[in-house]
Symmetry: C2
Subunit: 271 residues, 2 copies
């Protein structure tokens, strides 16, 4: 399978199947449940694993030469350099509360060239799906998105909303200092939201331009986000301004290049 | 108007009208817009004010002897001790991101006896409405809620999810120390969520029992939550374990009494 259209169809199939499974477990008020193997596990872990396994099964069948990088199980090597990068439930803290701002992340990347090809954020409860495709406009529920901030040259950090899922992701003194500096500069700071923050940024929904600053990230936490953010004229890099790769852990995403430059400037001034 | 049924109908009317207004402004990607008066203001401020004014207009007409305590405009004194306590958009940080986990809070309280009579959380985008009525089971979209954790004697703080909208709400050293202690004890800590955290607690949706710990609160931030939490067997008090009143600023809500006792014990040990 090498045709991009077919790969997009496969990505959508993965979003469909994982969404069906996750929906069954959402807002189920039990602390623990029995897994198929008889072990006791938390609902979110069960939903995570079952959704991931279902996606892996389909990839192995339909794209047997592709590799898999995943949150729960072991990675599977690729025969062609291409990897599916899976996070069934990004935002477990929202999932366990019953708040539908978690998402399923499905990325497809050529790891040899570090070229993200496809990215999907799927929110099965809200029936919202974002699809980023390398070099194309990002789709939201099949329609092209317009990020009104993309060309807004007047964007100022002092008028932006700074978002991080949790302050606990800033671990080193340098990370804490950077977060603190940006919190001082930006008009508003918000927490929570997980992948939905990137979806909101891409959608241009926010009533102010957005800066997402996160660290302590894994590849499966952000791989899918790259084509989604880039496909609306947003910027997503590491904190040094470099292209993200599978070893990156610090992620910066902004509504446009102007805000990105101002953010990188603040970061550079912190030793 | 003194009949409880009529007052509930009025509360629902307020939720309907504010919801219609707020929906028009949600996910509108503009930084600023012109108000009716010609001034430039942010979308969230406009939505907040217009929704509040619409509710106030109805109260003045249909319950002219009742007072009003509100987020945006000036308070209106009561002729009968009863006050409507209004927060049109609780969770502006979610609203500005386009995340539907904000809510409209409508409380009705007899301030002379500190007796909360009615509480509404309305989420106009998700079309979700929680109604708490003094002494009755809390309703979610007209159906009685079951909080499966209410009688769970085995609930342990070490298995609970601790939630606060933002770490910045802990201002004094004592507040910071209490938050830190509880973050260490609880299994999971989550941020964001605003009033939706209390709604999730009341709904028993979460896959683990919930402790919500918040400070720097205003009366309109929590008045409506009291009958909603109490109507499902949850507990909501201040951090000293006392009944909340219009001067309280520290709020603690738990899925049941057992968790509440354990939380208060942790708080008591902090000087």
């Amino acid at each position: 399978m090498d045709d991009l259209t077919q790969l997009i169809e496969l990505a959508e199939k993965l979003a469909d199947i994982s969404g069906e499974i996750i929906k069954q477990y959402f807002r189920q008020p039990r602390i623990e449940a029995e897994t198929k193997a008889g072990a006791i596990s938390s609902i979110v872990t069960i939903a995570d694993k079952e959704a991931e396994n279902a996606m892996v099964e389909i990839i192995l069948k339909e794209a047997p030469n592709d590799g898999i990088i995943r949150e729960e199980g072991e990675n599977i090597p690729s025969q062609n350099g291409r990897y599916w990068v899976l996070d069934p439930i990004d935002g477990t803290a929202s999932f366990v509360r019953g708040i539908p701002s978690f998402g399923t992340l499905i990325g497809l990347v050529n790891l040899e060239t570090n070229e993200p090809l496809i990215g999907v954020i799927n929110q099965p409860i809200m029936q919202e799906r974002w699809i980023g495709i390398k070099g194309k406009s990002t789709l939201f529920n099949q329609r092209s998105l317009v990020n009104t901030y993309a060309r807004d040259r007047d964007s100022k950090l002092t008028e932006a909303c700074l978002i991080s899922t949790t302050p606990f992701m800033f671990i080193t003194d340098r990370q804490k200092a950077i977060a603190k500096s940006l919190q001082k500069v930006c008009q508003r700071t918000a927490f929570g939201g997980d992948c939905y923050n990137y979806a909101a940024l891409a959608s241009g929904w926010s009533s102010m331009p957005i800066v997402v600053l996160e660290s302590d990230m894994n590849y499966y936490d952000f791989c899918a986000l790259i084509p989604i953010i880039e496909g609306v004229g947003g910027v997503i890099t590491d904190w040094s301004g470099n292209k993200l790769n599978h070893e990156s852990t610090e992620v910066l995403a902004t509504s446009n290049h102007f805000l990105w430059e101002q953010t990188i400037e603040v970061i550079r001034n912190i030793q």
